[in-house]
């Protein structure tokens, strides 16, 4: 597979609008464990275009959070990147020194997490934490405080002048997540990484947070990498979607492509079993039979990763890893707007439905 965007010598910071903000190319990542290496991400290629919200969906263990953590380089000690690159602003983030990386975190990119309680320091006031993260700016503490108040107002915290003195436990879950978003957005980052930011929240709060992210994204014009297993949320918020299964990208495309014209049997199965799509009351909901394959050592299946659970699997899936086919044309085209890694999409395949 060749990647046309990957020129042999990359020029310094190509800032033209066409180049994606974040370009993950053939990223592979292992976790070391007593049982052997876990091949958590394998040959991941995906992009986050400027000003777009890209959703990453998949079941638990698909590697969607690992991907986000790899981008911001906050991986666990036992994680090893074994191949590929993560290009942002013309630089491969994986080659940067820890010091250079710190210069990017909290400036060009920031992150919000699933549990807003554990990502805030509970023995420090909100205001103090928001002042602390502006440590780089040569302005007075009073000005930093003013900015913190403004940031809180922007995310819809009532009486921010007062509430800035509060401690995390004095806020509800939804308010805490708003505070985390305020902190992440205060620097107006180019890229916001959101790791299941609404999973721990009630549905009514969830829609408020989705609305807030939508509004801030439009105001700031940043890109968002939104990790979620909730298809409804992704359908509502995201422009583009990347579907991960067992550490591989199986399909990517615009949100309409993915939800209206899924090209991969896994995406189809995932959509089918969302009870939110089944409007008639039923006592038998569809499921995906079987289990996710083991990713330890050499137990990773050969050929297509989904073949063990796929209702359409045939002999070719057993030995040949499917490349990225353009869903429309059936050609091998990793850069097409809608691609699926399934042999059924191959134009030359007579089984093509």
């Amino acid at each position: 597979m060749t990647h046309p965007a990957a020129a042999p010598t990359r020029p310094e910071a190509p800032r033209d609008a066409a180049a994606p903000l974040l370009d993950v190319r053939h990223l592979s990542l292992d976790f070391t464990s007593p049982r052997g290496r876990i091949h958590a991400l394998r040959d991941i290629s995906m992009t986050v275009p400027r000003g777009r919200i890209v959703g990453v969906v998949g079941e638990s263990g698909s590697g969607k959070s690992t991907l986000a953590y790899a981008v911001i380089r906050l991986l666990a000690e036992n994680a090893r990147v074994v191949g590929g690159e993560i290009v942002m602003d013309g630089r491969d983030l994986l080659t940067l020194s820890p010091r250079e990386m710190r210069g990017i975190r909290g400036r060009r990119m920031s992150m919000i997490f699933q549990d807003p309680m554990t990502s805030l320091n509970r023995v420090m006031s909100i205001g103090q934490q928001m002042i602390d993260i502006q440590y780089r700016d040569p302005i007075s503490k009073a000005e930093k405080r003013k900015r913190a108040v403004e940031a809180l107002r922007r995310v819809g915290i009532p009486d921010p002048e007062d509430r800035v003195n509060g401690y995390p436990h004095q806020f509800s879950g939804g308010m805490r997540q708003r505070i985390c978003i305020a902190m992440a957005m205060m620097v107006e980052p180019a890229l916001l990484l959101a790791d299941e930011p609404t999973t721990a929240l009630d549905a009514t709060t969830e829609v408020q947070i989705i609305g807030l992210l939508e509004r801030l994204q439009a105001e700031i014009g940043c890109s968002i990498l939104f990790v979620s297993h909730h298809l409804g949320t992704v359908a509502e918020l995201c422009h583009d979607v990347v579907v991960l299964y067992a550490g591989e990208v199986v399909e990517q495309g615009s949100v309409r492509d993915i939800f209206h014209n899924p090209g991969h049997p896994y995406t189809q199965a995932l959509l089918d079993c969302d009870p939110g799509r089944i409007k008639e009351k039923t006592r038998r909901l569809p499921t995906i039979p079987g289990v996710v394959p083991s990713l330890v050592g050499d137990q990773v299946p050969t050929g297509c990763i989904f073949k063990t659970r796929c209702p359409h699997a045939f002999d070719r899936c057993d030995h040949e890893v499917p490349p990225s086919y353009a869903v429309v044309s059936g050609e091998v085209a990793p850069d097409a707007p809608h691609t699926a890694r399934c042999h059924l999409r191959d134009a030359a395949e007579e089984r093509r439905p």
């Binding site: 829609v207 009870p275 038998r284 569809p286």
Partner: protein, 335 residues
Amino acid sequence: MSTLLEVEHLKVRFRSMGALRALMRRVKDPYIDAVCDVSFRIGRGETLGLVGESGSGKSTIARALMGLIPSHGGSMRFDGTELRGLSQRAYKPVRRDMAMMFQDPVGSLSPRLTVRSLITEPFRIHGVRDRDMDAETRRLLEMVGLPAGFAQRFPHQLSGGQARRVGVARALALDPRLVIADEPTAGLDVSIQGEVMNLLAELQDRLGIGMVVITHNLNVVRHISDQMAVMYLGRFVEQGPTEEVFHRPRHPYTEVLLSANPEPDPDAKLHRVEARGDIPSLAHRPTGCEFHTRCPRARDYCREVAPALSSAAPDHTYTCHFPLEADAKERRLEA
């Protein structure tokens, strides 16, 4: 349909401060009402879905039913027996007939017990000695669709869905007549959610058990329950047949909850009704209608006068001064 469980005007209170502090602050009533005036009945083979946001009192009802926390008013009759006021000793045989599946599939299993010990623990607790535990282990594992080899596993070796199945096996070990499932699908992937719901539905059809399903996932409620009740600040604000409540909600809060459910379709034209702000504290309940602080339809009247229980149909009740019209949602869908 014979009534299995009948709850009337149930009230559960928690102490909000110690006696000394209450005395010093001259607080006459140092309690908060976590569950307030809740009534429902469940027949054999029927399922009641309890929905509401965190802190609305859903799990508190379950714990009160199981006698894990004391209740402070009303009545709970299970198969004709009044449960309120029973001693812990007298409660034990009740828990044979009324089983609970707790939230958090992995966390509710003791980490040092094998699956075999976990699913045969109910027999030990209730002194059932005349059965072959190996046979029971095989029977229960088969019933919930786990391979027999899982008997020797520990909870940390199970996935979320498998741990949930063990929870189901534990709850059903002693052939209960009522199962209370607290968030049976929370934290599970959509593909696994379907499996757990199908399992519960199938076992219910086969064994004719009554169920209370507590969840904040409306999609789950829709497919699994016959009746549903919507809770807000410890009260039922709307209650009725599930399809009826979904198609013709009367209480604005129900509408807010229903419309807060993002459709997995990017082109779904959602007419979203949002509730403002956060849930008020139980210690400072709003006056009048308790939903007025967040209600999109609230008027001055709602701030002053608490709405009485009204009926849209004999089995569909709600508490609202200005309910949604019967055809409001259908009109909205057409628009």
